[in-house]
Symmetry: C2
Subunit: 211 residues, 2 copies
């Protein structure tokens, strides 16, 4: 029921956000939702929700709402999250360990298939999810053998670019970067930065307006 | 030089994103930037950058660019990140520990003044940043004594709502939630969720379109 493949990036970012509350509702036995309710749960304008969902075809019924099950199915198809993605992670300090144990990743189809670190004390250690920590220099051969598609960087800023270059060199086209540096990348490749301090800036702004 | 206080939320989210590369450039000795360059660094449309920055007054010079120093100053003023915010964190597993040591937080004016956990083995431990882990039940008195403004939740999903209610009860009006549950909140309060799997969904979407 997809009407058009040319969906704006901002819509994609928002529909990715809609997924979590929709999945929560299904678990609670709710099968239909109004755009107003979904908008409220996601802190988005209801007109915006209706516009975003219009890209995904016509399963909203006026005065009733959207069939949640259909909506999840279509959103996942669009987001390409209806399949498994293979992830490799480099940097196994607290942040790396937290990500490896993040239940939402696995549940949403993101599977860590390799973990790398440069610390000789960590290399060879067995992780709770069943992987053994490998040295950084094995990134290229292992990424190719295992078919890693997304590289996750949780190293120190000093190491982040070196690790990124190894991921790119192995043919990996997408990186999720938690290290607070700007990663240089080939034109063919994608880098998405995660910076909690940006999220805090947004929250602090809203707080300073409300109180 | 602020023209108007009614800045759209989406603009706020983007200008918070612009800050990091701008600060990196200052460190590298660069003092002027074009909207095209900034747009490229932040993966945003150049026209969008110009529109966003127009809310912050007229320090762009046609054919030259923006004065980075002025831009940072105005963005920080708008975001209210030109002052220190006091944070309390509950949940000191890997994610909590990673956040406590996140250098960008402190650099950007976000200071953890208290840390809470429910695990008797953790309570009383001294953290590298100088705080001692306190029991969850001390959230209310300590939040009030220390003037905590933002509560950060990195507990298990089972504990997240209980902790959130304690933060709200202590008069805290904003929560940054890393736990994968939907936090119920009083109308007066703000909750911002951080969900890396949403970020991965966005990256996987872009990857599936490019390759």
């Amino acid at each position: 029921m997809i009407k058009d493949q040319k969906i704006p990036d901002a819509t994609i970012e928002r529909v990715a956000l809609y997924l979590r509350p929709l999945e929560d509702l299904i678990k609670l036995g709710v099968h239909v939702i109004s755009s107003d309710r979904l908008a409220e749960m996601c802190k988005v304008n209801p007109a915006q929700v209706r516009k975003d969902l219009s890209y995904f075809g016509g399963f909203g019924v006026r005065g009733v709402g959207y069939n949640i099950h259909d909506l999840i199915f279509e959103i996942k198809k669009i987001l390409a999250s209806d399949r498994e993605w293979k992830l490799g992670i480099a940097g196994l300090d607290d942040m790396g360990m937290a990500l490896l144990q993040h239940k939402n990743f696995f549940k949403r189809g993101y599977k860590f298939v390799a973990a790398f670190d440069s610390d000789p004390k960590k290399i060879g250690q067995r992780l709770p999810i069943g992987l053994t920590i490998q040295p950084i220099r094995k990134i290229k051969p292992m990424a190719q053998d295992l078919g890693i598609e997304i590289g996750v960087i949780t190293t120190s800023p000093l190491q982040a670019q070196v690790v990124a270059d190894m991921f790119f060199d192995a043919g990996i086209k997408a990186i999720l970067n938690f290290s607070p540096i700007h990663i240089r990348r080939p034109d063919c490749c994608l880098v998405q930065n995660v910076d909690f301090s940006v999220t805090l800036d947004q929250l602090a702004y809203r707080l300073s307006k409300e109180v």
